[in-house]
Symmetry: C2
Subunit: 339 residues, 2 copies
C-alpha cells in the first residue's frame, strides 16, 4: 500500500473560495452583516474537482491513499479573528470529510485547526476532537506561525502550545507542522515561508525538552524537513555543542520527515542521512510545484519516481511508503488493515 502523507485540497470547487472572499469582504466592511452562508457544493462538484487532479495522478503514479487536508496556503490564520478562523476551518474540514466519504479508499482526513494570532492553541482542541471523533480524521496541521510570516507566537516548545499537545496525545494523532500563506513581503509562501518554518520548528525541538514532557507526541516536518537534511552535520554539531543528547535520542522518536523534495539528488540525500524509520512518503500533489521538469520529462512533484529510481531495497521501500505512516498515524489502522 502506497500512502502519500501530504496532500491538500488545492482543487476545491470555486464556491469555497467565494465563501472566503465574502467572509473577508465582511471583515473589511463591518457594515456588511456577518458572513456565514455555507456554500452549496454538490457531490458531483467534489468528484469533478478530484477526478482530473488528485485521483488521476494517484492512478498515474501508482499511489493508493492520500492523507488529505485543507489547502494549507488558504488557512491564513492571520485573517480576521478567532471566529473568522473557526468558521472557515470548520467549513474546510467538513469538505475534507465529504471527500473522504466519497472516496474512502483514496483519502483519509487531516484537519486544519482554527488557530488565530495570540489565541491559545488550546482553543483549537475542540475542533481537533470533532474532526477525529466525529469525522474520522487521523491528524492535524499545526501552524507554528498563525501571524503569517511575522512569527509573533512563542516557539512550538513553549507551554503556550501544551493544551493542543495534550489533546493530540489523548486522541493519539500527530501534527504536520505547516504554515500558511505569508503576509510578510519578505517571505514567498511556498518558496521561503514553508521551508523556513520546517527548519525553524526542527531547531526549536532540538533546543527543548518537549519530548520529555510528551514522549508520545509526534510531528511530521514536511518538505523533506526544510533545510535540515542538507545541514544534518550542522544540526548534529549544534546539538553536540549545546550539550544536547544525540538527535536520534533527542527527537527522532517524535519527529518525522516527508519526501516532498522535488528532485532526485535531494531525495537521495534525505534517505542517506535521515533514518528510514523517520521518512514518510509524501508528494504534496497537487501543490506548490505543478509543472513538468524539462530535465526529466516528469512532474517535479512525482516524488515516487525518485524513490523508485533509488536502489533502496524492498524493506526500506515498505517502511517509507506504508509502515511508517501506520506508526506515525495510529488511527490509520482503524480504517485500513494494519501492515
Amino acid at each position: 500500500m502506497i500512502i502519500d502523507c501530504h496532500g491538500h485540497y488545492t482543487t476545491a470547487p470555486k464556491a469555497l473560495q467565494t465563501y472566503r472572499d465574502n467572509q473577508i469582504a465582511q471583515l473589511k466592511d463591518p457594515s456588511l452583516p456577518p458572513y456565514d452562508v455555507r456554500p452549496d457544493i454538490s457531490d458531483d462538484e467534489i468528484r469533478e474537482s478530484l477526478e482530473n487532479a488528485q485521483l488521476k495522478l494517484q492512478r498515474a503514479r501508482g499511489t493508493d491513499l492520500t492523507i488529505f487536508s485543507p489547502r494549507a496556503s488558504a488557512m491564513a490564520h492571520h485573517i480576521g479573528d478567532e471566529t473568522t478562523s473557526l468558521n472557515w476551518t470548520r467549513l474546510c474540514n467538513d469538505l475534507i470529510y465529504r471527500v473522504c466519504a466519497l472516496y474512502p479508499q483514496n483519502f483519509v482526513g487531516v484537519c486544519q485547526l482554527p488557530q488565530s494570532p495570540g489565541v491559545s492553541p488550546g482553543n483549537s482542541a475542540a475542533e481537533l476532537e470533532r474532526c477525529v471523533t466525529e469525522l474520522g480524521f487521523i491528524g492535524c496541521n499545526l501552524n507554528p506561525d498563525p501571524s503569517g510570516g511575522h512569527w509573533t507566537s512563542p516557539p512550538l516548545t513553549d507551554r503556550f502550545w501544551y493544551p493542543i499537545y495534550e489533546k493530540m496525545v489523548e486522541l493519539d494523532v500527530p501534527a504536520m507542522v505547516h504554515v500558511s500563506s505569508s503576509c510578510n513581503h519578505n517571505f514567498h509562501a511556498t518558496g521561503a515561508h514553508y521551508i523556513n518554518a520546517d527548519t525553524t520548528a526542527f531547531m526549536q525541538f532540538l533546543t527543548s525538552n518537549l519530548f520529555q514532557d510528551f514522549p508520545t507526541l509526534k510531528f511530521i516536518i514536511p518538505h523533506g524537513g526544510g533545510a535540515v537534511p542538507f545541514h544534518w552535520g550542522r544540526y548534529r554539531g549544534l546539538a553536540q555543542d549545546l550539550k544536547r543528547p544525540p538527535l536520534t535520542e533527542l527527537l527522532l522518536k517524535n519527529v518525522f520527515f516527508d519526501t516532498c523534495v522535488y528532485h532526485l539528488p535531494g531525495i537521495e540525500l534525505l534517505l542517506k542521512v535521515i533514518p528510514t524509520e523517520n521518512i514518510l512518503f509524501g508528494s504534496e500533489m497537487v501543490g506548490a510545484v505543478r509543472g513538468i521538469d524539462p530535465e526529466t520529462g516528469q512532474y517535479f512533484d512525482d516524488t515516487k519516481r525518485y524513490l523508485d529510481a533509488l536502489p533502496i531495497g524492498d524493506a526500506v521501500r515498505l517502511k517509507i511508503f506504508q509502515d511508517n505512516a501506520f506508526r506515525v498515524y495510529p488511527r490509520l489502522a482503524q480504517k485500513f488493515a494494519a501492515p
Copy 2:
C-alpha cells in the same frame, strides 16, 4: 591558493565585547553618558586571538587565505539606533583592518555595515566606501533583516536597498547576505535564522528583476545557500511555474553559494546540483559549529575535507578553491596575483 570566503572574527579580544556591553548599558540607562571609549587592544592581543584559532586551523587544514569579517552574530543591528550601529560597526571594521595588516597573507577584509531597522541602506554607503577605499576591504556583509528576526524591512529586491547596491556596483564589491543574532524567540540564530535568511534571499531574487537593474551586482549566499540546493527541483519548478527564466539565466550570473555545509552528503549534493562556477569554498571557522564529528573524528566545519573526499577533479577544485573567489571579489586581484 585555497581561499576560504567565509570567516568571522569570532575570537576577538574580550575588550571588544566589553565596549559593546558598555554601549548597551548606556542604551538601557540613558542617564549614563554616551559611551564611545574605544578599547585599547594591542597587536599582541590580536595575534594571540588568532594564532591558536583561525591561523592554527588554516595551517592544520591547508588553507591559505580567509576572507574575514566581523563576527556576524554580534552585528546585532537591532540594538540601539543608527549611531549605536555606526560606532559599533566602525570599531569592528577597524579591528578587521588591523588583523589584515598584521597578517596580509592570511586575511583580507570584508566589512560589517552600519545598518539599523527602518534606516535607508544608503546610509551604509559611506562606511562601505571607507572600508573599501581606505582599509582595502573587498566586500561587505549585508543583513537582509536588521530587525533581528522580525523581518520588518522590505525584501532585498525592493528599491529601498538600491542605494547600497549602487555603491557596491561603483566599488565593484559583492555582498554576502548574512543576518545577525535573532531577538525573535522562534529563531535560533545559527540553527534557524541564518539558514532561513539564506533561503529567503534566494527566493526574493528568484521573483524579482533585480539583476536586470544591476547586471554586475553579486551576492554570496552563505551556509551552502540555506535550503536551496536541497530543494533545487522546487526552485527550478517554482521559477518555471512563475514564468521566470531558467535559474541559470535569471540569477546564476549574480548569486553564489559557499560550502559551509558540515557533512559530506551535503557537500556532495551542493556540487551535484549547483554549477561549479557558482560555488566558493567557505568554512565559517571558527564559527557556528566548533566540535568534532564523532562519526568522522574531524571538525564538523573542516569543509575542505569533504571537498577533498569527492572525486571532482583538479579543474573543478581550482574553481571552487580559488578562481571563483577572484571572479566574485574582483578587488582580490589587487592584493594577490590573479589566477
